[in-house]
Symmetry: C2
């Protein structure tokens, strides 16, 4: 009933305390870097500037046993009806455009997580049919 | 450098062999069920019919050490430039509309994975700013 994740790299953002992090991705936010570990670098071959990627990252300090939480309006909702970092598997998900890519480093704008957050996956983004 | 995932439920699809699975989500595909384990059921409170959710699932049989793969056109690409299930952390990601929700069971259309695939997260979908 469990599986093990490997960190493939880390995210560099300007945020060193949780209170500094924005609530969600900001498409015009500050530049952030996704740096892939050397042994995974060839996995980036074929990604291009301007392409939209889905980035998955691991929110290591989250609480994993909250099933009901208050949203910003003070309503109680289930964890799976919220995008709170506190969830049984604290995976952050962001769709971002590639601003630059050089070696093992992808530059994007406006990630919402703490500096040094582990990355667990990068893949081309797809939207619901009809929206993309 | 690693983290542990907990399965929160499982997905029911019509596909019992990998060759039967479509390559991606089909918005008009067959009805599929996401059944959350009893102990996580209250986490669904507040999800509604018609809402778009991001579902993350674990592709347990994937190969995890492929960094270069051929795409359908025969080009060699890096794993992170592809949506292949074979990747260091084999997490599937799908944005889907909720067709029905009853107790611990969410019905959606057109998932692309094998029957009995473990679910690891459900959260409200957001698109890139300006697209949603």
């Amino acid at each position: 009933m469990t599986a093990t994740l490997t960190y493939i790299g880390k995210i560099t953002t300007p945020y060193h305390r949780v209170e500094q992090c924005p609530n969600n991705i900001q498409s015009q936010g500050p530049l952030c870097q996704i740096t892939v570990r050397e042994e995974f670098k060839q996995g980036l071959k074929g990604l291009t500037i301007g392409q939209d990627i889905l980035v998955l990252y691991w929110l290591a300090d989250a609480e994993r046993d909250l099933l009901i939480q208050s949203n910003k309006h003070g309503d109680n909702k289930g964890t799976f009806a919220l995008r709170s970092p506190h969830r049984p598997n604290p995976i952050g998900a962001a769709v971002l455009s590639i601003e630059a890519i050089e070696g093992a480093v992808i530059t994007v704008k406006g990630l919402d997580c703490l500096d040094n957050t582990p990355v667990i996956d990068i893949k081309p983004a797809i939207y619901k049919e009809g929206i993309s």
